[in-house]
C-alpha cells in the first residue's frame, strides 16, 4: 500500500510551516486527542490527500514537530505520545536510509504501510460510526408499540387420578383392619441373645437329653406367636452353644422333638 510519496522529500518549506502552525493549534487541545493515532490522523488531514496517498514520512515530521512544540511550551505529553515520537523517529530514519540487507525485521516501507493502514482503518471506523449514528434509530425515528401487552403467565395445575387409584384407595380404607402396620413388636419377640443368656444359665443342669422346648420361657409358651418366636430363638441359641462345644443336639426322626444335653468335658 506504500506508495512513492512516502519517500518524497520531507516537506517543502511551505509544508513545514503549515505543519508547525497546525501543531501549534493542536497543542492547545492535546487532551482532546484519543491517543497518538488520533493525533496522527488529525495531522494527516493537513496533507489534504486521500489517506491512501498520504506521506508517512511527512506525517512523521509533522508529529515530531508537534512534540517539539509541546516541549517548548512545557506541556507534559503522556508517555504513549513520546513512545510514538520515538518510534516515528526510528521509522523516519529507516525510510530515509537505504535498506540494510543484513538487518532483521520489517522494512521501513512495511512499517509505514502498516501505519497508513491503521490510519485508514481508524478513519473508516469513524466514518462507519458516523453513518451508524445517522441511521434511523428506535425511539427516535421509529417506534415500538407504546402499550405493549403483557403476556400473562397462567399456571394451571391439573390433578389426575385413575379409576384404579380410586378403587385401591377405597379398598385400602375398607380392608384396613386386615392389615397391621409393620412395626417390630418387641413384646412378642424373644431374641436369640435372650435365649442364649437363658440357656447358658440352664445347661449346667442338663446332664440328660432334654427337649429344647422345655427351655422356652414360661411367658412365651402359651401365645402361639410368642411361642414361635421363642422356639426359633431357642433353637438358634442351641446351635450356637453346640458350635461352642457346650452342648450336644440330637433329633430322633424328622419332626421329632429336638433334644440337647450338656457336653461333658473330654478328659480321657
Amino acid at each position: 500500500m506504500a506508495d512513492k510519496e512516502l519517500f518524497d522529500d520531507p516537506a517543502s518549506d511551505q509544508g513545514a510551516v503549515a505543519a508547525r502552525l497546525a501543531a501549534e493549534a493542536l497543542i492547545i487541545d492535546v487532551d482532546g486527542f484519543e491517543g497518538p493515532l488520533d493525533l496522527l490522523l488529525t495531522l494527516s488531514r493537513t496533507q489534504k490527500v486521500d489517506l491512501r496517498r498520504i506521506s508517512i514520512l511527512q506525517l512523521a515530521e509533522q508529529y515530531l514537530a508537534f512534540v517539539e512544540q509541546a516541549k517548548t511550551l512545557r506541556i507534559e505529553l503522556a508517555a504513549d505520545y513520546l513512545v510514538m515520537a520515538a518510534w516515528l523517529a526510528f521509522l523516519k530514519s529507516r525510510l530515509l536510509l537505504p535498506p540494510d540487507p543484513a538487518e532483521e525485521g520489517p522494512s521501513g516501507e512495511d512499517l509505514a504501510a502498516h501505519l497508513a493502514f491503521q490510519l485508514e482503518r481508524l478513519q473508516a471506523m469513524r466514518d462507519a460510526a458516523a453513518k451508524l449514528m445517522a441511521r434511523d434509530q428506535l425511539g427516535r425515528d421509529f417506534f415500538a408499540r407504546g402499550i405493549p401487552e403483557r403476556v400473562e403467565r397462567v399456571r394451571k395445575v391439573e390433578y389426575t387420578a385413575t379409576v384404579l387409584d380410586l378403587m385401591q384407595a377405597y379398598a385400602r380404607l375398607k380392608t384396613r383392619d386386615d392389615f397391621r402396620p409393620f412395626v417390630l413388636d418387641r413384646e412378642s419377640v424373644f431374641t436369640m441373645e435372650q435365649a442364649l443368656e437363658r440357656m447358658r444359665g440352664l445347661i449346667g443342669f442338663a446332664g440328660t437329653w432334654t427337649d429344647i422346648s422345655s427351655y422356652l420361657p414360661e411367658a412365651f409358651s402359651v401365645d402361639p406367636k410368642k411361642r414361635r418366636s421363642a422356639t426359633a430363638a431357642t433353637f438358634a441359641a442351641s446351635l450356637e452353644l453346640a458350635k461352642e462345644g457346650k452342648v450336644e443336639i440330637r433329633q430322633g426322626a424328622t419332626f421329632a422333638p429336638i433334644e440337647l444335653r450338656r457336653r461333658e468335658p473330654r478328659d480321657g
Binding site: 384404579l164 387409584d165 380410586l166 384407595a169 385400602r172 380404607l173
Partner: protein, 223 residues
C-alpha cells in the same frame, strides 16, 4: 389526490404552508401515532399531533375499517382511541403452563368414599377414613368439579351431603358410580394391594394427615 407525489409525507414545519396530506397518508399517520403512543389518544390529541388541516376523525374511520377482523383492532377507550389485540385472540396473550399432579392421598380417599357411599356427609367420610377431613380437600374436589353438594340429610343438624358429578364419571370412564367394583370384586380381580399403608394408622383429629401423605402414595400407585 391520487398523485403518488402527494403520498410522500410533508416536511415537518412546512405543513401549515401546504394542504393537508391526503387521507391515505393521514390514516398512516394516525396508525403510527396510535401504535407508538403509551396511552390512548383522543381526537384532540391526534389533531394536535397531526399536520395542520388533518381530519383525524375521518382517518380513524378508515383505520377502523382497515383493522376490522384483523389480529388487532382499533378500539375506543372512553373518548380516546387505542390499538388492542382482538378479543378472540386474547388467549394468545396468556402463556399457560399446565402442571399435572397426582391427587393427594387424602383427596383420592375422600373421593373414593364419596363415590362409593354417595350421598355421604362429612361426618360419614371422617368415620370411614378415621381422620377428620380438611375443608381444603373437599373444596379441591368441588373445584375440580368431581364432587358437588347433594341433598341435605334429613337427620338432626340437616348435614349437607356430597355426591360425585358427571365430570367425575366422564373422567373415570364410568357409566354411573354404581359400576364401581366392590371390595370383594377388587380382591377377586387381584386389584387389592396387599401392602399395608405406610405409617401407623392415625387417630381421628390428626388433620395433618391430609397434607402429609402425598409422597408415600405416589410410590404406591406407580405402575
Amino acid at each position: 389526490m391520487d398523485d403518488p407525489q402527494q403520498i410522500a409525507a410533508p416536511e415537518p414545519g412546512e405543513d401549515s404552508l401546504f394542504d393537508a396530506p391526503p387521507m391515505a397518508e393521514q390514516e398512516r399517520m394516525v396508525e403510527a401515532l396510535l401504535f407508538a403512543s403509551a396511552a390512548p389518544l383522543s381526537l384532540r390529541d391526534l389533531a394536535g399531533r397531526l399536520p395542520h388541516g388533518c381530519e383525524p376523525k375521518e382517518a380513524l374511520v378508515h383505520l377502523q375499517k382497515r383493522y376490522e377482523g384483523r389480529g388487532v383492532r382499533l378500539v375506543k377507550v372512553g373518548d380516546a382511541w387505542a390499538m388492542r389485540t382482538a378479543a378472540d385472540l386474547s388467549y394468545l396473550m396468556q402463556k399457560e403452563t399446565v402442571e399435572t399432579r397426582k391427587l393427594s392421598r387424602a383427596a383420592i380417599e375422600t373421593l373414593a368414599i364419596i363415590a362409593y357411599h354417595q350421598p355421604v356427609t362429612r361426618a360419614e367420610i371422617e368415620e370411614i377414613r378415621g381422620v377428620s377431613v380438611s375443608r381444603g380437600t373437599v373444596d379441591q374436589l368441588i373445584e375440580m368439579e368431581w364432587v358437588r353438594f347433594g341433598r341435605r340429610r334429613m337427620t338432626p343438624g340437616r348435614p349437607v351431603t356430597f355426591v360425585v358429578t358427571q365430570e367425575f364419571l366422564d373422567h373415570f370412564g364410568l357409566e354411573s358410580a354404581r359400576d364401581l367394583p366392590g371390595v370383594k370384586e377388587l380382591r377377586a380381580a387381584g386389584l387389592l394391594d396387599n401392602r399395608p399403608p405406610p405409617g401407623s394408622v392415625p387417630g381421628p383429629g390428626e388433620a395433618e394427615d391430609d397434607a402429609e401423605d402425598d409422597e408415600p402414595q405416589s410410590e404406591m400407585f406407580d405402575e
